[in-house]
């Protein structure tokens, strides 16, 4: 392995502070440089390892850039048709109620073709975790407009910018599902800075633990970037995301379960 290393004396097993979790396989990720998918995968994989869930987890992968997700996490996987992952997850969880079941879906998968499956599985309160990667574009197929594409945002099928009069407004699926009694914990996070990675991991760990309570659907949206689709460098795309996506899709908990209200931390003004 070709490595670039820092001070060699410090590199000893005793000093190990951070290593990629073994739940991630050794396969090279197929994502574009700087794409948030890889970061989210790793956070989820770390939680699966730390919570000891490898032999109890079944993941459902989507159609989209993360279609090959099953090559990257060493757990049992099912590949779903486009948009249908929550239907698969519904059956898996009802037939194997002791297992931890999650779906991992992009914005086209969850909010366009899969809208019905998303709404209805949340409405029934299926005891699953839905992970929603929202980057406002269809990455895999070459950068077309998505239901979550911002007004005025250019894509290969909205080359002059999204015109809400013709194409409608972006769908805020996360806010919609939060209104359903069947959802238990709904949150929106990001993974573009270390602080946000920590917050996302905390939110996902909660969602994983809540599933054992069987009190409804946990829904975690990750607002993420698409350097290739947005035609920017990764660092530029993260900045653009902060300036444009976050005002429209604000980060934070949208629905916190009433029976899990923790000690409130003092809010800073």
């Amino acid at each position: 392995m070709n490595e670039a290393t820092g001070i060699k004396e410090i590199i000893k097993p005793d000093n190990l502070a951070y290593k990629k979790t073994k739940i991630m396989t050794d396969n090279v990720l197929s994502y574009c440089p700087g794409c948030g998918h890889g970061t989210v995968h790793r956070i989820l994989a770390e939680i699966i390892e730390e919570e000891g869930l490898q032999s109890d987890t079944i993941g459902v992968s989507p159609v989209g850039c993360s279609v090959l997700l099953y090559n990257y996490l060493d757990i049992d996987w099912q590949e779903a048709a486009h948009g249908r992952a929550p239907a698969l997850a519904t059956a898996i969880k009802r037939l194997l109620p002791e297992k931890f079941v999650f779906t991992y879906q992009g914005d086209g998968d969850l909010a366009a073709i899969g809208t019905s499956e998303t709404i209805h599985s949340c409405n029934r309160g299926e005891n699953i975790l839905i992970i929603f990667i929202n980057n406002g574009i269809y990455g895999m197929t070459g950068g077309q407009m998505a239901p979550t594409t911002l007004p005025g945002m250019k894509s290969s099928t909205s080359p002059y910018g999204r015109d809400v009069k013709l194409m409608g407004n972006p769908l805020k699926m996360t806010d919609i599902v939060a209104t359903l009694p069947g959802t238990y914990y709904v949150t929106r996070q990001s993974v573009h800075t270390p602080a946000n990675v920590r917050k996302t991991k905390k939110a996902m760990r909660k969602a994983v633990q809540y599933q054992k309570l069987n009190r409804g659907t946990c829904f975690v949206e990750i607002v993420s970037n698409c350097p290739s689709g947005w035609k920017m460098t990764p660092v530029e795309s993260n900045k653009w995301m902060e300036e444009n996506m976050f005002p429209f899709y604000p980060l934070g908990d949208i629905k916190v379960p009433q029976d899990q209200v923790e000690k409130q931390e003092p809010k800073s003004e």
Partner: protein, 356 residues
């Protein structure tokens, strides 16, 4: 334990048979003429007795994908619908075949195309046997001709599905689904505790992770996979053909019909013979694999074959292929939900004998 005798509708018999076959899950959506299946299961509430999951899905599309999720866990799962709903399921069916998943899909056929009618038809033969969904695959297709067979084919369907890791379709129609007949129900089987080694149940340290998918971006690998499917279907053609013959031994004229049309043709055979026409009936029970070999043998013995179907003529093409030009093959059928009558069949046969 003994079998139990009941008077039931075809649809109800499917539902009761599913519970007794130890099915793990049923995912369905209301559509005439088969909504009784879901209704019966909801009333029976087998979750309380056997743990069988019964769920009314938000659409036929959701239902077939729930079947996929359950099947991928190695469970005995099924869905039922009627023609327009089966059209909706085609994507899911192609995925099930491509991922080699066992399951049972019941189509209680109604007249089409489009919204069509709610009366019985046999116009989904192409859809069931020639694809329907995209790609090179086949479903094993069982065609019941009685309420008894609608019940029996649930267990048979699951058996074949798991034997070949392939989806199985029961192609019934609105007449058999709705009619009431005596049916002997098998004693209940417990839900299976065996987990197939390919199923996704959570990866233990003792094996590699199981991935259920139909995707392979490497064309060489995908071709090898398709060849594997071809070999599977050839094995099914060798081993799983089922059909029934009615007075074929001395027949000059052969009726070929399945399902409700076969019931009608049994009477037609009697009527024709009363008029001096030595007629027989071959009733395919498996539409895939089709009894081509037997039809080919009979082509050497009969003068005319008449495919009787409630459609514009779909199975007739498989009859033509089977006999390869050695005997004239014709089609007769009513459409749009109209059920053929035995006299009409005899008249049609006579017109072909005279007119050719």
């Amino acid at each position: 334990m003994e079998k139990e005798l009941r008077l039931m509708k075809g649809n109800e018999a499917v539902a009761e048979a599913a519970i007794r076959a130890g099915a793990d899950g049923y995912f369905g959506y209301p559509i005439t003429p088969q909504s009784e299946i879901l209704e019966y299961l909801m009333v029976a509430n087998p979750y309380k007795t056997t743990g069988m999951v019964v769920l009314q899905a938000e659409s036929e599309v959701a239902a077939i994908n729930m079947v996929y999720g359950g099947a991928a866990c190695g469970k005995k799962v099924m869905t039922t619908s009627s023609s327009p709903g089966i059209s909706l399921k085609q994507e899911g069916i192609s995925y099930l075949a491509g991922a080699e998943l066992p399951c049972l899909i019941v189509n209680v056929v109604r007249g089409g195309p489009g919204l069509g009618t709610i009366q019985p038809a046999q116009s989904d033969y192409f859809q069931a046997t020639k694809g329907g969904g995209h790609g090179d695959y086949h479903l094993i297709v069982l065609a019941p001709a009685s309420v008894q067979e609608m019940a029996d084919f649930v267990d048979l369907g699951f058996e074949l599905a798991f034997k070949y890791r392939n989806p199985v379709m029961m192609l019934s129609d609105g007449a058999i689904g709705q009619m009431m007949e005596k049916v002997w129900l098998s004693p209940p089987e417990e839900r299976s505790k065996t987990v197939p080694e390919w199923a996704t149940t959570g990866k233990p340290p003792t094996r590699e992770r199981n991935i259920i998918t139909s995707l392979d971006l490497d064309p060489q690998a995908q071709e090898i996979f398709n060849q594997k499917l071809v070999a599977k279907y050839n094995e099914i053609r060798e081993k799983e053909v089922r059909y029934e013959e009615f007075q074929c031994d001395d027949a000059d004229y052969l009726l070929v019909a399945y399902g409700t049309s076969a019931r009608v043709c049994q009477k037609s055979v009697q009527l024709a013979r009363a008029q001096g026409l030595k007629t027989g009936l071959l009733r395919p029970i498996t539409l895939f694999p089709f009894p081509s070999k037997r039809l080919s043998e009979l082509a050497g013995k009969v003068k005319i074959m008449l495919s009787v179907e409630m459609s514009a003529g779909q199975m007739v093409e498989d009859v033509l292929l089977s006999v390869n030009g050695r005997v004239p093959v014709y089609h007769f059928g009513r459409m749009g939900g109209v059920v053929t009558s035995p006299d009409e069949v005899v008249e049609a046969l006579k017109s072909k004998i005279i007119g050719g």
